[in-house]
């Protein structure tokens, strides 16, 4: 065999390679830059509003006296309702679809397709659904926090179901076989083998769902979140939330309110980034490598 010497790449190819790589990098830099500018801008505008009183005071028509207490508590309550709603319902649905559903049945396939589609439905539609079924209509709760939380829960439920199914599917069939071969029932296998192995993936999905829900404004407006709340919310009271508060303050003519809005945005961003950080940590730390 007479080998051909490994020649150097010709310079034109190399240039093209570099050019392409540079272009991709530029696109990345552009989006990172825009995000950076936005963050810095908000930080500059809002840092002056952040103080202890900012967290302890209710909203007020005087910027100097206004705080985010009601909005922050409202957001925390809403997230609580969302978690309590989406975790059991989402995990149970994912388990049914992955472990029990017989795919040869048309209704199971229909459910699957619908869940995929629901994840892409605009959030305002969920707001209208919440208004029609939760606030008025059959359940008639009124425009209370519970209704807002459930509307947000419905909105992000498909996200949890899809993430849950992926986590459950990632548990290899050999684990189920090994468990069943020892005389475990299907339920014991699911409860003691499949679910524990899928928990990190499910938890990641839940947190990502929450970080979508926490920033949603449109469905809350439709469900009837108040813009001016001067009491601590409960499940059955009227409520506001951080995005609503921000939306309200931004629409005020006074510049002082804009600084307050920027402050509230910082709080919302910190919450959001913290949740995403936890999700990434969970995924890296606990996700099972098979």
């Amino acid at each position: 065999m007479h080998g051909k010497a490994v020649g150097r790449q010709d310079s034109r190819t190399r240039l093209r390679e570099r050019g392409f790589r540079g272009m991709l990098l530029a696109c990345l830099a552009l989006s990172a830059l825009m995000l950076g500018v936005l963050l810095v801008d908000v930080a500059l505008d809002g840092s002056s509003s952040i103080s202890t009183e900012f967290f302890t005071k209710y909203s007020s028509s005087f910027p100097a006296n206004a705080g985010i207490r009601a909005a922050l508590l409202g957001t925390i309550w809403l997230m609580g309702v969302v978690i309590l709603f989406i975790v059991p319902v989402g995990v149970a649905t994912a388990l049914y679809l992955e472990e029990y559903a017989d795919r040869s049945r048309w209704y199971n396939r229909a459910i699957e397709v619908n869940i995929q589609n629901l994840a892409a439905v605009p959030s305002i539609v969920y707001g209208i659904l919440g208004l029609a079924f939760l606030v008025r209509g059959p359940l008639g709760m009124g425009n209370v926090l519970m209704a807002g939380g459930l509307a947000l829960g419905l909105l992000v439920l498909p996200v949890v179901i899809i993430a849950g199914r992926e986590a459950i599917r990632a548990v290899p069939p050999s684990i189920r076989e090994g468990s069943m071969a020892l005389g475990a029932t299907q339920w014991q296998t699911i409860w003691r083998q499949v679910l524990p192995a899928a928990v990190p993936g499910i938890a990641t999905g839940v947190i990502l769902a929450l970080s979508r829900a926490i920033g949603e404004t449109a469905p809350l407006i439709v469900v009837g979140a108040a813009t001016f709340v001067a009491f601590d919310p409960s499940l059955s009271s009227q409520f506001t939330a951080l995005p609503i508060q921000i939306f309200y303050w931004v629409s005020q003519p006074q510049d002082d309110f804009k600084a307050l809005a920027a402050g509230a945005i910082i709080v919302l961003m910190v919450l959001l980034l913290a949740m995403n950080a936890v999700a990434i940590y969970l995924r890296n730390r606990y996700e099972q490598k098979w």
Binding site: P172, S174, M180, A181, L182, G183, A184, R192
Partner: protein, 298 residues
Amino acid sequence: MTEPEEQAGTSAEAQREAAAGRRFERITPAGDRHRPAKQREAIFDIDGVSVSYSGAVAVRDISFEIGQHEITALIGPSGCGKSTLLRCLNRMNDLIPGAEVTGTLSYHGQDLYASKVDAVEVRKRIGMVFQKPNPFPKSIFDNIAFGPRVLGMKGDMDEIVERALRRGALWDEVKDRLKTNAFGMSGGQQQRLCIARALATDPDVILMDEPCSALDPISTGKIEDLMLELRENYSIVIVTHNMQQAARVSDRTAFFTVSLDEGTGHRTGRMVEFDETEKVFTNPSDERTEAYVTGKVG
């Protein structure tokens, strides 16, 4: 199948064997059936068993008996249905949608596929070890303890785990790291863990589906030694592609072959020969067996 949970220990084992023997004698008429010489009591009586997946017949009309405290090897080319048949013996095929078993498959004289028989109960008595080691993503201890726990076995769990690991010839290697994750073990250790895990629930039979195909020769040797040891107390059915392995460990061998149905394109397995291992390998009665075991085909 309906007996109360037995206590662990050698006396319980002896008891169970006696009970198993009684049941067998009561139900299966011995004597007139064709069976090879020296065969001990049969635990499985496979009579005209066929298995199909969604209508496609994977293995057709299999009949033979599997003896107690013997190692029975199922050999044959890929697709001949030996794994399929093995998975019928503890009803693991139930988990595959569309799988259908016809014929009679008796275990100690009880029809395993009778409508009143619960597959979960069957699997408590008939353990299984798979081709690829499949430890649970848990500690070594919890891997072993899982079976006894879900079965609600009474007794000191530490003792149960130690006994299973000793029987699996793994205790000395892992006794100092029972709390570590089983995924940190070598492939051979993982497979012995899976065997020990199956032993922990005190089954009567261990089914092994190519247990050494993913292992190196040294680990394979350890598992073969272990099988010979376990034969004293358990009955073992092993599917293997490794002819030498079948010759080394098994008492009896069933040779399967596969034929292609030109019309449907389905491959269907049949059993060609079942006899003492020595005879199958040195003086087979069917020329297809001879061609296979001497390496002329397959």
